[in-house]
């Protein structure tokens, strides 16, 4: 082949290679938008909507105190926060039921709740006069019992608890002692039962369930300003996330499985207080702040927890549990002197996959009803 022919061959080869390269690169990179890496927003501080929400909830003004001739105007406060237990080492976990209901995870949980086509929910509405999806705002779990806040103006407490011994208490509360109760079913039949729990209602805003009348009275005392001077277990500045509160170290240790008995013991020994915040506005992200007295011991506990999470992740990877491994990717411990923050997250997609059966069963039940 002469020089001219050889040159022509090189030119043709070059053109062909460029075409092949373009096709390969086009196919290889793909034209669909790149998958976004999951990003999780952890609840680390109060955000503007939560600040506004806390402000809106300051509705209760204590009566004016006349002291040595001076009148001091009391600042309005959130009755539910005022009702919380006081002092160190107490447990109080607030679930923002209304916010949770309107979150993506809330929609999924609602599907699970209404797997029977919503029959039980309707029954509860008719019996109590309370629509949990509309009227319930917050739910608090404490060592002593439970508190619910919301709009209970339509509640049928008198019909439900009318047989019990009850009394007016304080300025706006009614306390029901433990006793019998009769429930009228939608079909007109009645069912009788006995409840060992004492109940108090306050201004159609709060419903307190406790072990004894004295306990629920103590809660009403705190709401109406007759309680101890100590600050409540959760300060207003900590009311962020869809679930938040403080857990006693004992409660936290009890949550750990038996295989982690050593870790539970260590938590009891080292930690003093655990503050918890869970955000469910998108992915479910949790931040737990563990505080203790000894900085070194707290840091060591943080390292142990970090190592335990790391081992769990390695195990999940080794066993091919991709979801769990991905979930534990976000887990980390952030030491900070005498405290550390433990962060964990569950991507919403993982929860959606796990709870997909609820939606299917709900749709099937609703279709059958039609």
């Amino acid at each position: 082949m002469d020089n001219r022919g050889r040159r022509r061959v090189w030119l043709v080869v070059a053109a062909m290679l460029f075409v092949v390269a373009a096709v390969l690169m086009f196919t290889g990179q793909g034209e669909e938008p790149a998958m976004e890496t999951p990003k999780v927003e952890f609840p680390r501080r109060m955000r503007a909507p939560e600040r506004e929400r806390a402000e809106r909830r300051r509705t209760h003004v204590l009566p004016v105190q006349v002291d040595a001739g001076t009148q001091e105007r009391a600042r309005p406060r959130d009755p539910l926060l005022a009702a919380l237990p006081r002092g160190e080492g107490k447990t109080a976990v607030v679930i923002e039921a209304n916010a949770l209901r309107h979150s993506p995870i809330g929609e999924l949980l609602l599907d699970c709740l209404m797997r029977d086509g919503g029959k039980r929910l309707e029954e509860l509405r008719n019996l109590s006069g309370v629509d949990p999806l509309q009227d319930l705002d917050r739910l608090v779990i404490t060592d002593e019992g439970m508190m619910l806040s919301g709009n209970f103006g339509n509640a049928k407490f008198k019909e439900l608890l009318g047989e019990r011994v009850s009394m007016d208490y304080g300025e706006g509360a009614r306390v029901y002692e433990p006793g019998d109760m009769t429930v009228t079913r939608p079909d007109g039949s009645t069912a009788r039962g006995r409840s060992e729990a004492a109940v108090a209602t306050w201004n159609n805003e709060l419903l307190v369930i406790g072990k004894s009348p004295d306990e629920v009275k103590a809660v009403v005392d705190r709401v109406e300003g007759r309680g101890p001077d100590e600050p409540p277990a959760i300060s207003e500045g900590s009311t962020y996330g869809e679930m938040y509160g403080v857990l006693s170290v004992d409660q936290l240790a009890r949550l750990l499985p038996k295989e982690q008995a050593e870790l539970a013991d260590r938590i009891r020994r080292v930690a003093q207080n655990v503050e918890l915040h869970v955000d469910a506005s998108g992915d479910v992200a949790m931040v737990a702040e563990v505080r203790g007295a000894n900085g070194d011991e707290v840091t060591d506990l943080g390292k142990t927890l970090g190592a335990a999470l790391s081992m769990a992740r390695i195990k999940a990877q080794a066993e091919g549990e991709k979801d769990l491994a991905q979930l534990l990717d976000f887990a980390r411990v952030q030491p900070d002197g005498t405290s550390f923050k433990l962060e964990m997250a569950v991507p919403l997609d993982v929860i959606k996959q796990r709870l997909a059966f609820c939606k299917e069963e709900r749709s099937a039940a609703e279709a059958a009803e039609r």
Binding site: M25, G28, E343
Partner: protein, 278 residues
């Protein structure tokens, strides 16, 4: 093949005689030594519990060591990819023009080899140099973090090799430029232009909407369709180094595409070199 290898050896000897190539190797060694001596990592059951750099404790969170090291490996991959190509452009821009300088080219053309052997040999020599340097640097990095953190991954090594493929495409363009104009500066400039073009080509999908519909957008799409998608390769290198899922549909095809582009550019060089009078 023998003449191509002969020319490659000739290029390598020339490179080793240049002081700043040696300085580059010494530089990599120094960086690796400093990292090895100054970094202390405490790992507890696979979790990065604490780390110190130059004796100062770094405020790190305690998390799985591979997750904690992801940003480090990703940064290293980008540094190796773009830094390596940039250094390669500057360091190797002079090879081809000096090979084709008057007096030397006549001597080379007098050898019993075909003209394309000369270019192919130069390309092979430079690529051997690039692969050697990359392997040296990335192996050092893998060893340091492997020994210190107990976490062994070939990710950075593979990322380095991807960078070499990217550089192959760029250097092929530089070599072809040398057959058009015997200027090291213009060779480096063409390499730089294709590096920038390659970065843009990798993000063509995201950038297309910035062009008004019509000729402008279609021209942009046509040009970037052919250019080597270097940024896509860099992102893939970062993903591999940090053991995260790949964003590209098929790395193999992308890699092959960039390499084939390089061969295409080299073929243009052969075409030009065959017809040139010296």
């Amino acid at each position: 093949m023998k003449p191509v290898l002969g020319i490659a050896g000739y290029v390598l000897r020339e490179a080793l005689s240049r002081k700043f190539i040696l300085a580059f190797l010494v530089g990599i060694t120094l960086v690796l030594t400093v990292v090895a001596l100054s970094l202390r990592i405490e790992v507890v059951d696979g979790a990065l519990a604490a780390s110190r750099l130059f004796g100062e404790e770094l405020r790190n969170s305690i998390r799985s060591v591979d997750v904690a090291l992801r940003p480090v490996y990703q940064a290293a991959a980008f540094l190796v990819f773009y830094g390596g190509i940039l250094f390669g452009i500057v360091a190797c821009s002079d090879f081809a023009p000096s090979l084709m300088s008057p007096g030397r080219i006549e001597h080379l053309l007098a050898l019993p080899i075909q003209r394309w052997h000369l270019l192919a040999g130069t390309f092979l020599g430079v690529m051997t140099l690039a692969v050697g340097g990359t392997l040296y640097g990335t192996t050092g990095l893998v060893l340091i973090f492997g020994v210190k953190a107990g976490y062994w991954t070939a990710g950075p090594l593979i990322a380095g090799l991807l960078a070499c493929v990217g550089f192959a495409a760029v250097y092929a363009v530089m070599l072809t430029t040398a057959t058009l104009v015997r200027s090291a500066a213009l060779c480096a400039a063409s390499g730089f232009v294709f590096l920038v073009g390659g970065i843009i080509a990798g993000y063509r999908q995201q950038m297309t909407p910035f062009f008004e519909e019509g000729f402008g957008r279609e021209a942009f799409k046509a040009v970037t369709l052919v250019l080597p998608r270097l940024s896509a390769l860099a992102v893939a290198a970062g993903d591999i180094a940090s053991s995260t899922p790949l964003e590209v549909r098929s790395l193999g095809l992308l890699l092959l595409g960039v390499l084939v582009f390089g061969f295409g550019a080299l073929a243009v060089g052969f075409w030009r070199f065959e017809g040139k009078d010296y």
